[in-house]
Amino acid sequence: MSPGFLNSPIIEGVTILLLGAGTTVILSCFVIVLGIIVAIPLCLMRLSKRRWLRSSAGAYVSFFRGVPLLVQLLVIYYFLPVLGLDLPPFVAAVIGLGLCTGAYQAENLRGGFLIIPLGQEEAGRAFGYTGAQIHRYILIPQALRAAFPALMNEAILILKASSLVSVVGVADLTRASQNIVARDLHPLGWYAAAALIYLVINLGLAMFGRAAERRLGAGFATVSP
């Protein structure tokens, strides 16, 4: 390959775009994991017998689902330094998106817990399992499996929502396309290319989700609706 070819603005632009897409995907993965970590205790609080636990978790879920993600990101981005935390934009963005998606995932997970028959918990207790063991070995694995389709849906939403982190200075796919446009002034082409990459990743995610669902469901006796 001639150096001239490598220096062509299109090749360079596509490289920047793909690097941005990599950042978007890695960021989304971190966000999903953080979301699950936030969601499990949050969901257990929502289902708790203690009223103050229920209502505080309810307020958390209502707030993070009721406020625009962009505004949440701005609050967190400017609030972390007040706490004395000088975090890089990538970490701040993961925290912001993770706290938000945690609220949604907690609700999905709650749906997963609610479909587990009460008898299973009672049976666990009759066998002498402690409360923690019942959750660890009986309830949480089933709830996670039941909430899996909703989780895949959430992953697609996170991937799209992650475009907002470009505002707080993360060089994700959207920011990369903006940077290229600022240089070579072809907004339509580059933004359409970015959209196409998002679309391909999301269609891939949706396909993976359907395949994984079939596998996860393999050991389950299901009743067709």
């Binding site: 009721g66 339509l188 082409g189 679309l199």
Partner: protein
């Protein structure tokens, strides 16, 4: 931290104008989105391939890409193909086209939930097509569709904040401008969050009321 409420006195008119614009864009965008979504949903449920394939592509594109990137394409890319719209128009149309993709799915699910026998019965009674939609399909579909429609209205309300990035002077845009001029960031954004929270909670309350009213004929 330098912050006092006198800021809101200085910036009050600007902020109120921003709030008005947020609400206007939200209502216009949602109304257009519901109309287009209804038409698309009806077309999808008709099940003609010539219609469903392009509509499916439309839905996949608008649901599979971020609203922000769609807005960039329309606002910054539009002039390249001779479509130069102002920020407000891009905001309303962007929200409407984005929402329509989701509303179409909601209405399609609604239409497909009606047993075909009802349509056959209506046809055999000689009820015209539009009257069938108006008096037989719609009342039943609305009951089913109100919760997801409310949900989508809340999503669109929150997504109006994204329009600030393409310079639509709505509430988030005005507050951002204020924070840059005053160097006070945390409190204004936090109060902004509370305002949106209030709006979304109010919307979901209205949705629950609508659900009760529309579903009242189902009560025994």
């Amino acid at each position: 931290m330098s912050f006092d409420l006198s800021l809101f006195r200085t910036y009050g008119p600007q902020l109120i104008h921003g709030l008005e614009l947020t609400v206007v864009i939200w209502i216009l965008g949602s109304a257009l989105g519901i109309l287009l979504g209804f038409v698309l949903g009806l077309a999808l449920s008709a099940g003609r391939r010539a219609l469903t394939i392009p509509i499916r592509c439309y839905i996949e594109f608008f649901r599979g890409t971020p609203l922000l990137v769609q807005l960039f394409i329309a606002y910054y890319g539009g002039p390249a193909v001779g479509i130069a719209l102002n920020a407000f128009t891009v905001g309303v149309l962007g929200l409407a086209l984005y929402g329509a993709a989701y509303f179409a799915e909601i209405f399609r699910a609604g239409f497909s939930s009606i047993p075909p026998g009802q349509i056959d019965a209506a046809r055999s009674f000689g009820i015209r097509r539009w009257a069938r939609v108006r008096h037989i399909l719609l009342p039943q579909i609305l009951v089913l569709a109100v919760p997801p429609i409310t949900n989508m209205l809340i999503i669109l309300l929150k997504d109006t904040a994204i329009l600030s990035i393409v310079t639509v002077p709505e509430l988030t845009f005005e507050v951002t401008g204020m924070t840059i001029e005053t160097f006070s960031f945390v409190e204004p954004f936090f109060i902004l969050a509370l305002v949106y929270w209030g709006l979304t909670e109010f919307t979901s309350y209205c949705g629950r009321m609508a659900e009760l009213r529309l579903g009242s004929y189902l009560a025994h």
